[in-house]
């Protein structure tokens, strides 16, 4: 397998794994949770470092995942109080955790090379070179294997709880009335968001985590009203964006992660402009036609 193919495969798997929970983040209007996680994981890394005093300890990764979970739970809990907006909840939790981490670093580890990149070494370009060997057998690129597992977990969760997710996302009050707890489903989903974000961060780097989680879901959202179709389209766009992005990056010799993010943004913008259902152009035309029709009616009356 050539190196480009391998990078493409990794990108596709990571992007689909991210796009699945990303759909629900888009629907709930909390996409920036993914951005929050890529920052707050630093707190977990710092605390785990104080415990282990070792920059290479796997515990640092565990710490990162746990703070990710803690972050989404804290955001979720704040949002559920309904005392502040969804985005405000993210705005409170993310800077708080991140700045505590920065303070701990400057106060206690001033001169040590400690930042997210030291522990979460995700870089899509070099992902094929980080192999996973089990019992001496090379089973593939580590990013590919771990993210494939996360992809299956996400797909399994969404498949099993599809009905619950649908009801709680669109009508939480109704869901509670007919007897299942929206909180449980949300916390479950958010835990997956955190796990996926940390896994993706460690595989492909931080720029792409946000791009992968938000881009495909948002593009799909602009093109359809049905949840099933939206999930399908998100998966499709995640794959297409990754394939085109990797190709372009090699053609132009630029950062691979950066190029995929650019393609993701461009595709989303195209959907925003040209979507046959909710696109800006379609919207403007419809509005103009309605206004003209209205004017005509008025003229007729006069």
């Amino acid at each position: 397998m050539s190196i480009i193919t391998e990078i493409t495969l990794i990108a596709v798997v990571v992007s689909i794994a991210c796009a699945l929970p990303g759909v629900f983040l888009v629907l709930r209007g909390t996409t920036m949770v993914s951005d929050a996680i890529t920052h707050t994981v630093l707190l977990g890394i710092v605390i785990a470092f104080f415990v282990t005093r070792d920059l290479n300890s796997p515990l640092l990764l565990v710490g990162a995942t746990l703070t990710g979970v803690f972050t989404v739970w804290a955001i979720e809990a704040l949002q559920r109080t309904k005392l502040l907006g969804d985005d405000a909840a993210i705005g409170v939790v993310f800077p708080l955790f991140f700045s505590v981490a920065i303070i701990l670093i400057t106060r206690y580890t001033g001169d040590i090379h400690l930042d997210q990149d030291t522990v979460l070494m995700g870089e899509l370009a070099f992902a094929p070179f980080r192999r996973l060997t089990i019992f001496g057998v090379d089973v593939g690129a580590r990013a590919f294997v771990t993210m494939l597992v996360i992809l299956f977990i996400n797909a399994g969760f969404i498949g099993l709880f599809y009905k619950e997710l649908k009801v709680t996302t669109f009508d939480a009050a109704f869901a509670a009335a007919i007897g299942f707890s929206p909180a449980l489903i949300y916390y479950g989903l958010m835990t997956l968001v955190s796990l996926t974000a940390v896994g993706a961060y460690d595989s492909v780097g931080s720029i792409l985590v946000v791009g992968f989680m938000v881009g495909p879901g948002l593009t799909a959202y602009l093109l359809t009203h049905e949840l099933k179709k939206m999930i399908g389209l998100a998966v499709l766009f995640a794959s297409i964006n990754s394939i085109i992005g990797v190709r372009l990056a090699f053609a132009l010799d630029s950062s691979i992660a950066g190029m995929i993010a650019v393609v993701t943004g461009t595709v989303c913008l195209i959907a925003f402009l040209f979507s046959p259902k909710k696109g800006l152009i379609k919207n403007t035309l419809t509005r103009r036609r309605e206004r003209e029709a209205f004017d005509r009616k008025i003229n007729e009356i006069n």
Partner: protein, 319 residues
């Protein structure tokens, strides 16, 4: 259901097509071809080129002026790594994000040389006060360390390519002579600065090794890591220190933002001490041919000239 199956099918097909059209298998030719050496920093690339001569083809991952802490690989770096016969990197967490990958290359049979292994661990300086086990990675600013590194690189190349072992050893000896001449040049130039003025104030602590080897007091505004912000305490404490010691020049670095140094200059000026920005020093990366700083030796000479000229001139002004 049908629709989802179709989508899945489409994805699968596009991936297969992609795999089919990109089967450019890389062959690694042996024999008279030069050894493909991948070096991380520009300093190391220069070192390996000097020792390996015509028998190596060195590719540096991080270009001139790039801060190793924030380096982002481009697509061609993927091929560079894929075709590497040998990898040389600094160590001591300078390339912390890639060390795991380099170690994996080593275990797959691509020899990996860590420059820091070429010197006794007593040569490392620690950072972060007493009891710290974190080492300062800027080892190249000790010319002595770089002499040790030259011998080590020659040994490592000879191990990989015993046929040309004598050439590598000869190149190393010639280069070590150049390095000794550089050390003499540095010492002579520093003599021009009165001992009481030998303070080097820069944005981040990259010059500890230089300071120890050539008796210079080095004061950094930031920690070792260029990503941590300087705290306000750092700036006002340092401003007091500069005003008390009557230091008249500070320096910026090629790969670090000069913003904090500007804040420092303002703080010192407000304490009634004249402080000027004396120019750019090369710290984590070499310069380019346009500035005549594309090799380690030229880079070091440029740094010393900048430092001595600034501190020297300021001394004259006082009289």
């Amino acid at each position: 259901m049908m629709k989802r199956k179709w989508i899945g099918f489409t994805i699968l097909m596009s991936i297969l097509m992609l795999a089919a059209c990109s089967n450019e298998t890389a062959t690694t030719p042996e024999g008279d071809e030069p050894i493909n050496v991948v070096a991380t920093t520009t300093m190391i690339a220069d070192l390996v080129e000097n020792i390996g001569g015509e028998y190596v083809a060195v590719t540096g991952l991080m270009g001139p002026g790039i801060d190793p802490h924030t380096y982002q690989p481009s697509a061609s770096d993927v091929y560079t790594m894929d075709e590497a016969d040998m990898i040389v990197y600094n160590g001591l967490h300078l390339e912390s994000q890639f060390i795991e990958m380099f170690e994996q290359f080593e275990s797959r049979g691509v020899p990996t040389t860590v420059i820091a292994d070429g010197m006794p661990s007593s040569a490392y300086k620690t950072v972060g006060g007493e009891g710290s086990t974190e080492y300062d990675p800027h080892i190249w600013f000790s010319v002595n360390n770089w002499i040790n590194a030259s011998e080590y690189v020659a040994e490592q190349l000879a191990e990989y390519d015993p046929e040309h072992a004598d050439d590598y050893e000869a190149n190393a000896q010639a280069y070590i002579e150049e390095l000794s001449a550089l050390a003499d040049y540095i010492e002579t130039r520093i003599e021009e600065v009165p001992e009481s003025s030998r303070y080097l104030v820069t944005a981040h602590d990259a010059f500890q090794y230089f300071g120890e080897e050539f008796n210079f007091e080095v004061v950094g505004l930031q920690g070792v890591n260029t990503q941590t912000e300087a705290g306000t305490g750092d700036i006002s404490g340092l401003a007091d220190f500069i005003a008390n010691q009557k230091i008249s020049a500070v320096f910026v670095e090629s790969s670090v933002s000069s913003r904090n140094i500007e804040a420092l200059i303002e703080a010192v000026n407000s304490r009634g001490q004249e402080l000027s920005n004396a120019g750019e020093l090369y710290s984590d990366a070499l310069g380019d041919e346009a500035h005549d700083t594309e090799t380690y030796i030229k880079m070091y000479r440029s740094n010393i000239d900048t430092i001595v000229d600034a501190l020297n001139g300021s001394q004259d002004n006082k009289h």
